[in-house]
């Protein structure tokens, strides 16, 4: 007898027709004489598929609930009347099912005949040729004729909607199976599609019968993937044809870390299809991951190393060896002149673990100092600090799937529908099932408008008052006796708890007293605290709206306090969940990028730790922490820091107080930039080393749930080298030998030196698909949920988090508070997405402001406005929006010419120097021309593109310079 109850046993390559059921009660039935046992609630269609009996189907797909509309999956069941659809019929004990006989064959052939009578017969020239379920089913049922002819009423002349840049909608091919509509509802949760009309007039419609681009569609592509015909089809497939092989890899955009099948023709990507076997995304994706991969082959890609003596000179194209030698000689000369600590390196959260590991190793072992840092400095460094101090590990506690067991979901300073869209879809699924939602954010984020979810609580606090808010929430928990005493007694440090309890019970933390600070009515705060504390499972998700503050670390600890006090740690459905911005933020932190920690968060001052690394690396390691990124800038400006190696980061655009950053970069005697494009930082560089995109290399990324996923090379590196090879070359040229043939060997080295990675290897990753660290002898398959038994530091530590007001306060001169963030279609500094058709959604950064603030300043939608802070001024177009609270304005930083970071200041988190991007006091006024900085930016940008062109022309190649933004 066949037994199926473990969903892991199914193949992600097959479609079993309806979703898996997880009941532990097994039901036994017979299908075509084969006995099979499956979980209760499984459909007959799925049970048959598990027994490798493939019943014809069209409207069914195993990522969607059964719908029963096509009738193709009809079966005969002994003792039952008629021919029921197997997709909507659940299995029963003792059931005897027949899937093929002449009666069924006739019925199916009739069904297909009707479908085909209103379908174009252009199979040979159809883009879905070779990948069409309708065609497959016509074959499966043996359709030989269409007796109705093709002259009757039909939809064959329906017009194609080409409005979306990535896919087309050709309704003439539509069979109205509703899979696209259900995918939009069930998988994505946007509800942008519907079936309009009845009977023969039924048709798929976007929004209110609009073009896709004009509707609420977010272009996630779930509908395209669900479509069984070529009605919804990737334009890349229409242009190029069907792929001939595929490789499973990991997306290089956000911290969700979706698995994809890169579907290929030779070394050309035809399309990216989210991989059903991916444990982070389960076959779903967003507009970036699925569609925005064209940047990898954009003409702006750097293909040749370049060098120059100073930044006002044209670039000179050279070979790899010359460029590496030039860089190494410069670094050595600078160290000889200014000292060992005068140089440093920045690792990338976009590169792989192995590449990040090598860059920090290069700094520590070849530069012989600890001046290494990563862009996590400017996003989640407070998470590392705060969670290590309270829970003992610098990482989120859960899997993404854990949200499906959460009863109260608290989202603080995060905008998942834009920044972590695939996880947001899963969260919305749970919200539709009835979980409570509490959003703590100055802005009315889209999650609050989740279709089919009611009663969301929105604590719209003033920017910069997070800690006051989290203290007020904790005050309610403790003063109203809602704490989990048993958990606290068993799992937390007693004296620390008592001290915290005394602190948090102080009347100044009551919601009534805090109301004046946060602007949130006390009753709302009390209600939210009760909702979270009383829920069977309360889960907190947070983002950069927590960390990017002068009290970012305090807020992370405040969140941990709340979870500890309510016992919401150590099982599924709960936890403290940082939503990481970039694909490998978690990994870059794990790999020892921070100046005070070796890989695995092991402090450089620990002699036992250093001894192990010294033995492996063969050099002494400095026992003092190195400089963090902002400290490097300060030291550069004051003349002590002279050279920097930057891999895959664009600090000139992403870091705050642009003018200070530019001054620092201009102060360097040698700036080495390794990137796939001439980014803003590279315009200040002396050595340009072409990087490789995620499609061109092997390695691993670690996502926000600590999941290590494989990145697999699908095409050769455009410039001939993967990024890790370049670092190896630089180390060797500096006289520190590094020898690796493949990133797998780098991971093996990481595993020997990092206690939480001892069980990780490429072979193990291939075997398990992915691994959530820690993975070692105690947890050979990794650890999905952390802190189940105890904490790495033994007992949970409550932290005293006194609210200290930000120095960035609104006043008469700067009466508004600016907060920055990102949107769905663009990614971070935009270097990748700006070079794709995602520009169709967001081709400029705008300033959002409340109608009252706009009216007060005579600003209308679309006007140019100058935004001035104590750091600088920039000019953007205004968007009047009531999702902003009065007094708060918002912009994104996806386009370099926008200069969002010209206005952000050097105010930063007290513990980690993470910049306070989320609070800048500003004034906004109507203007008629770009700011001084913007005019300087434009002329400098023009000059640098000319200097790049100079280098390329000299080598006889035609450049293609991108105008990032006007």
């Amino acid at each position: 007898m066949l037994q199926y109850f473990d969903p892991k046993h199914v193949s992600p390559e097959r479609d079993y027709g309806t979703p898996a059921r997880l009941s532990e009660t097994l039901v036994s039935l017979e299908i075509d004489g084969t006995e099979i046992r499956v979980p209760e609630g499984t459909s007959v269609l799925r049970a048959a598929a598990l027994a490798d009996i493939n019943i014809p189907k069209l409207c069914a797909s195993d990522n969607l609930e059964a719908f029963g509309s096509c009738r193709l999956c009809a079966v005969q069941i002994e003792g039952k009347r008629g021919l029921p659809a197997s997709c909507t019929t659940p299995v029963e004990n003792g059931m005897k099912v027949t899937t093929q006989n002449s009666r069924l064959a006739k019925l199916r052939r009739n069904v297909m005949e009707l479908y085909i009578s209103d379908h174009p017969l252009d199979c040979l020239t159809c883009p879905a040729n070779g990948d069409c379920e309708l065609q497959d089913m016509a074959g499966a049922v043996g359709l030989r004729e269409v007796r109705y002819g093709f002259d009757g009423d039909n939809h064959l002349a329906a017009e194609t909607d080409d409005s979306n840049p990535y896919f087309s909608f050709d309704p003439s091919k539509c069979i109205v199976c509703s899979r696209c509509v259900r995918a939009c509802n069930e998988v994505q949760g946007t509800f942008a599609l519907t079936i309009e009309g009845r009977g023969f007039d039924s048709k798929v419609a976007a929004g209110q019968s609009e073009a896709f681009m004009d509707s609420e569609c977010v272009s996630c592509g779930a509908c395209v993937q669900a479509c069984p015909t070529s009605t919804l089809m990737e334009k890349s497939v229409i242009e190029q044809g069907q792929p001939e092989h595929s490789v499973i890899t990991t997306c290089a955009y956000c911290g969700v870390g979706c698995s994809f099948k890169a579907e290929m023709q030779g070394d050309r990507v035809v399309r990216m299809v989210p991989y059903k076997g991916g444990d982070a995304n389960h076959g779903h994706s967003c507009v970036k991951g699925r569609f925005a991969f064209g940047y990898a082959t954009h003409p702006d890609r750097l293909k040749t190393p370049m060098i120059r003596e100073s930044i006002d000179q044209p670039w000179r194209e050279v070979g790899w060896e010359e460029a590496i030698t030039f860089a190494a000689e410069r670094l050595k000369a600078i160290q000889a002149k200014y000292g060992r600590e005068s140089i440093g390196g920045i690792t990338s959260s976009r590169c792989t673990n192995e590449e990040t590991y090598l860059v920090q190793k290069l700094v520590r072992a070849a530069f012989r100092n600890n001046n290494t840092d990563t862009c996590a400095r400017v996003c989640h460094s407070p998470t590392g600090f705060g969670l290590k101090a309270t829970l003992g590990e610098s990482a989120g506690t859960q899997t993404f799937d854990s949200v499906m067991k959460a009863d109260a979901i608290v989202v603080i300073g995060a905008n998942p529908t834009d920044a972590h869209p695939v996880f947001a879809s899963q969260m919305r699924k749970r919200l539709r099932q009835g979980a409570e939602l509490i959003v703590v954010d100055p802005r009315r984020i889209d999650l609050l408008k989740t279709p089919h979810h009611r009663g969301a609580q929105h604590l719209a606090l003033r920017p910069g008052t997070n800690v006051a808010m989290v203290n007020a929430l904790a005050h309610v928990v403790i003063s109203e006796g809602l704490e989990d005493r048993e958990f606290i007694a068993k799992r937390c440090d007693e004296s620390g708890y008592q001290a915290w309890r005394e602190f948090i019970l102080e009347e100044r933390h009551s919601p009534e007293n805090v109301e004046a600070i946060t602007g949130v009515p006390a009753e709302q705060v009390r209600r939210a605290a009760r909702t979270y504390a009383n829920a069977a499972n309360g889960a907190i998700y947070y983002g950069l709206g927590v960390t990017e503050h002068s009290q970012g670390s305090s807020m992370v600890m405040g969140i941990a306090n709340l979870a500890l006090a309510t016992g919401n740690i150590g099982r599924e459905g709960v936890g403290v969940n940082p939503l990481r911005g970039q694909n490998n933020v978690q990994g870059s932190c794990d790999m020892g990028s921070f100046p005070h920690e070796l890989p695995g968060y092991q402090h450089v001052s620990d002699p036992a730790v250093r001894e192990r690394f010294e033995a492996a690396w063969g050099v002494p390691i400095d026992d003092e922490p190195g400089l963090r990124i902002p400290n490097m800038f300060d030291a550069a400006v004051s003349g002590e820091f002279k050279a920097l190696y930057v891999q895959g980061e664009d600090i000139a655009q992403s870091d705050p107080n642009t003018q200070h950053v530019e001054l620092a970069l201009r102060s360097l005697e040698c700036l080495i930039v390794q990137d796939i494009f001439l980014n803003e930082t590279a315009k200040f560089a002396h050595v340009l080393l072409p990087g490789s995109s995620f499609l061109e290399k092997d390695g691993t990324f670690t996502n926000a749930e600590r999941r290590i996923n494989r990145v697999r090379k699908v095409m050769p590196p455009l410039a001939g080298k993967q990024d890790w090879e370049v670092t190896v070359d630089l180390a060797n040229a500096l006289g520190y030998p590094m020898h690796y043939d493949h990133p797998a060997q780098i991971m093996d080295e990481i595993a020997t030196l990092t206690p939480s990675f001892t069980g990780v290897s490429y072979a193990r990753l291939d075997e398990l698909g992915s691994i959530q660290w820690p993975c070692n002898e105690a947890y050979p398959k990794g650890m999905p949920t952390m802190h189940i038994e105890d904490f790495p530091i033994g007992l949970g530590q409550f932290a005293i988090t006194d609210y200290v007001a930000s120095e960035e306060r609104s006043n008469r001169r700067f009466p508004l508070l600016l907060t920055t963030g990102r949107i769905l279609s663009q990614y971070n500094v935009g270097a990748q997405t700006r070079r794709t058709d995602n520009q169709a959604w967001h081709d400029e950064d705008v300033l959002e402001l409340h109608p009252t603030d706009a009216e007060l300043r005579g600003v209308r939608d679309g006007d140019w406005v100058g935004i001035t802070s104590r750091a600088g001024q920039t000019v953007l177009r205004a968007r009047v929006s009531d999702r902003m609270p009065p007094g708060v304005v918002y912009t994104t930083f996806h386009h370099p010419g926008s200069g969002a970071n010209v206005i952000t200041t050097d105010s930063s988190d007290w513990a980690t120097n993470c910049p306070e991007y989320k609070v800048t006091a500003v004034q906004v006024e109507k203007v008629s021309q770009p700011s001084t900085w913007q005019r300087q930016f434009q002329s400098f940008d023009r000059l640098q593109l000319e200097l790049l062109r100079g280098g390329k022309d000299a080598a006889g190649k035609q450049p293609s310079a991108e105008r990032a933004n006007e």
Partner: protein
């Protein structure tokens, strides 16, 4: 506009101090923080400033930096 490097360090030290002020062992915590997270050159600069002037440092920050000066002066390599 930007602060000078030393002004930034003074500001950072005071910020660390005020964020830990509520602990009974505040000075020791601040000292540990500086020891664990500040680069050698930053430590030297703030210690030098304390010795030469120190007027812009809060009393708690000053106390912690005095401890830092002591622990840095103590025999190396004793930084566990």
């Amino acid at each position: 506009m930007s602060r000078s490097q030393l002004d930034t360090l003074i500001h950072m030290a005071n910020q660390i101090a005020i964020n830990n002020a509520h602990y009974a062992d505040a000075a020791e915590r601040i000292h540990t923080h500086l020891k664990k997270f500040w680069a050698r050159s930053m430590k030297h600069q703030i210690i030098d400033y304390l010795r030469e002037d120190g007027s812009q440092l809060s009393p708690l920050a000053r106390q912690a930096i005095e401890q830092l000066a002591q622990s840095q002066a103590d025999a190396r390599p004793a930084s566990a």
